[in-house]
């Protein structure tokens, strides 16, 4: 590798990494937290079989899973202004990622809720608890533990999905890389570099996941 390319990599590394720390990670964390809230609501509504709302949830999941994330981003950022709704790029991205990943996570949460033995609900009734008390204190915590690996999976996927926000002008890592590449024309080196930074982020998350799983199992495994 010649020295010029090496110098470009060294100069760009901190810039891209900072875009990752300042934009990609906050974008992923915020989107994930909102997605988690959405997914719990949507999964619980279906599990509790709340009429009307349940159909609405199925409709939401159907629409979101059936259309590309890119289309959803374009609609919110480029489409909505024509009906008078103008969102800045970052909130628009959070909104799209949360709604998109929320649909997938809702299905994981629903499966995890259904995996909680029915006897847990009955035992709760028999000690005098109400449905929502049992849901909050007994069923959801157990479902959360079951769903933890697939929720971690969603978070890792979310980190990489944020790269799509580059298409709506959010200056996350890919956009930063594109800007630098526009000056120096080193696509191979620069995209290898940004790929490596994503890999670093996801490696840390994978460690966190296995740490979290151990922690949850130590807390009296649910099996």
């Amino acid at each position: 590798m010649d020295e010029r390319v090496l110098q470009i990599l060294i100069d760009s590394f901190m810039k891209i990494l900072m875009a990752g720390i300042r934009v990609t990670i906050p974008l992923a964390v915020l989107s994930f937290l909102f997605a988690l809230i959405i997914s719990i609501l949507v999964a619980v509504i279906q599990y509790a079989n709340i009429r009307g709302l349940k159909q609405l949830c199925r409709f939401y999941i159907w629409i979101i899973r059936g259309t590309p994330l890119l289309v959803q981003l374009y609609l919110v950022f480029y489409g909505l202004p024509s009906v008078g709704i103008v969102l800045p790029a970052f909130p628009a991205a959070v909104l799209c990622f949360a709604i998109n990943e929320g649909a997938y996570m809702a299905e994981s949460m629903r499966a995890a809720l259904e995996a909680v033995p029915k006897g847990q609900l009955e035992a709760g009734y028999c000690v005098g608890m109400s449905y929502w008390q049992i849901m909050r204190r007994i069923i959801l915590p157990q479902a959360f533990r079951t769903a933890f690996p697939s929720l971690s999976n969603s978070f890792i996927a979310m980190i990489k999905s944020t790269s799509m926000a580059s298409t709506i002008t959010v200056s996350e890592m890919i956009r930063q890389t594109q800007i630098i590449n526009g000056r120096v024309y080193q696509s191979l080196a620069l995209y290898l570099e940004v790929g490596f930074i994503y890999l670093m982020f996801c490696t840390v998350l994978t460690w966190l996941q296995s740490y979290g799983e151990k922690k949850l199992n130590a807390y009296g495994g649910a099996k």
Binding site: P117, G119, Q120, E122, A123, G124, Y125, C126, V127, G128, M129, S130, Q133, R137, I138, P141, Q142, R145, Y219, G220, G221, A222, K223
Partner: protein, 247 residues
């Protein structure tokens, strides 16, 4: 204390309960016996509204309820005076032994934490599980889990405890520890309604026996005469069968 008349329940076309009546007085230990599929468990589940019966009336502490159209409010009012012990224990898997027992006190009955824990420890001492307060259910044997489940039932000071085949899921060598806890309760005057296959328990601990088959009560009598002097042909056959099985 409890008077149940004419309970019916069908699952699709299958008539699980075809007009069952039973009475439990304060201090009674009633064993419900019968072959598998006779409706014993369904009856118990209908009595605590885990299944809603198709028909029947219940008098509980002098109040009369229609078992089909009973309101949620009345169900939870009755449940607060009763407790249920399941065949599969159904301990809360994400809670410790202590939390399993305090949950119904703190959350459902708004007892303060300190008092709830005191009561819970007392109940756990009674079943010999007070040395495992911080264990999770997955760390206990079946017999230990069932004893915790009994403590969970006891802690709420119920007027009656329903037992649904409490020893049927246990390894043979663990059955004794659970039965001896139940025997102690009976001796202390706890009112109990017990679906069981344990003939020794029915004969020696319970004072009344109800024999069911095909969703109907075949015979109700005190336990001594049930085993020594059964009235119905079907009951005689049942007792003969279990006795020859033992030999």
């Amino acid at each position: 204390m409890i008077d149940i008349r004419n309970v019916t329940k069908s699952f699709d076309d299958f008539g699980a309960l075809k007009g069952v009546s039973l009475q439990v007085e304060k201090g009674d230990v009633v064993a419900i016996l019968g072959p598998s599929g006779s409706g014993k468990t369904t009856l118990l589940r209908c009595i605590n509204f885990l299944e809603i019966a198709d028909g029947g009336t219940m008098v509980f502490d002098g109040e009369t309820f229609d078992m089909h159209s009973i309101s949620k409010k009345d169900i939870s009012r009755i449940r607060r005076k009763t407790a249920f012990v399941f065949q599969n224990y159904n301990l809360f898997l994400n809670k410790t032994v202590l939390q399993n027992v305090t949950e119904g006190l703190i959350i459902a009955r708004k007892v303060n934490k300190e008092e709830a824990e005191k009561k819970a420890v007392a109940a756990l001492e009674k079943v010999g599980m007070a040395d495992r307060l911080d264990s999770f259910p997955s760390q206990l044997s079946g017999g230990q889990q069932q004893r915790v489940a009994i403590a969970r039932a006891l802690a709420t000071d119920p007027e009656i405890i329903y037992f649904d085949e409490p020893t049927s899921a246990l390894d043979p060598e663990l059955i004794g520890e659970v039965l001896s806890v139940m025997r102690d309760l009976a001796n202390e005057g706890m009112t109990m309604l017990v679906v069981t296959h344990e003939m020794n328990f029915a004969r020696n601990v319970s004072n009344k026996v109800i024999f069911m088959e095909n969703g109907q009560v075949i015979e109700t009598s005190d336990s001594k005469s049930f085993f020594e002097n059964p009235k119905e042909e079907r009951t005689k056959l049942f007792i003969q069968t279990i006795q020859s099985g033992r030999e």
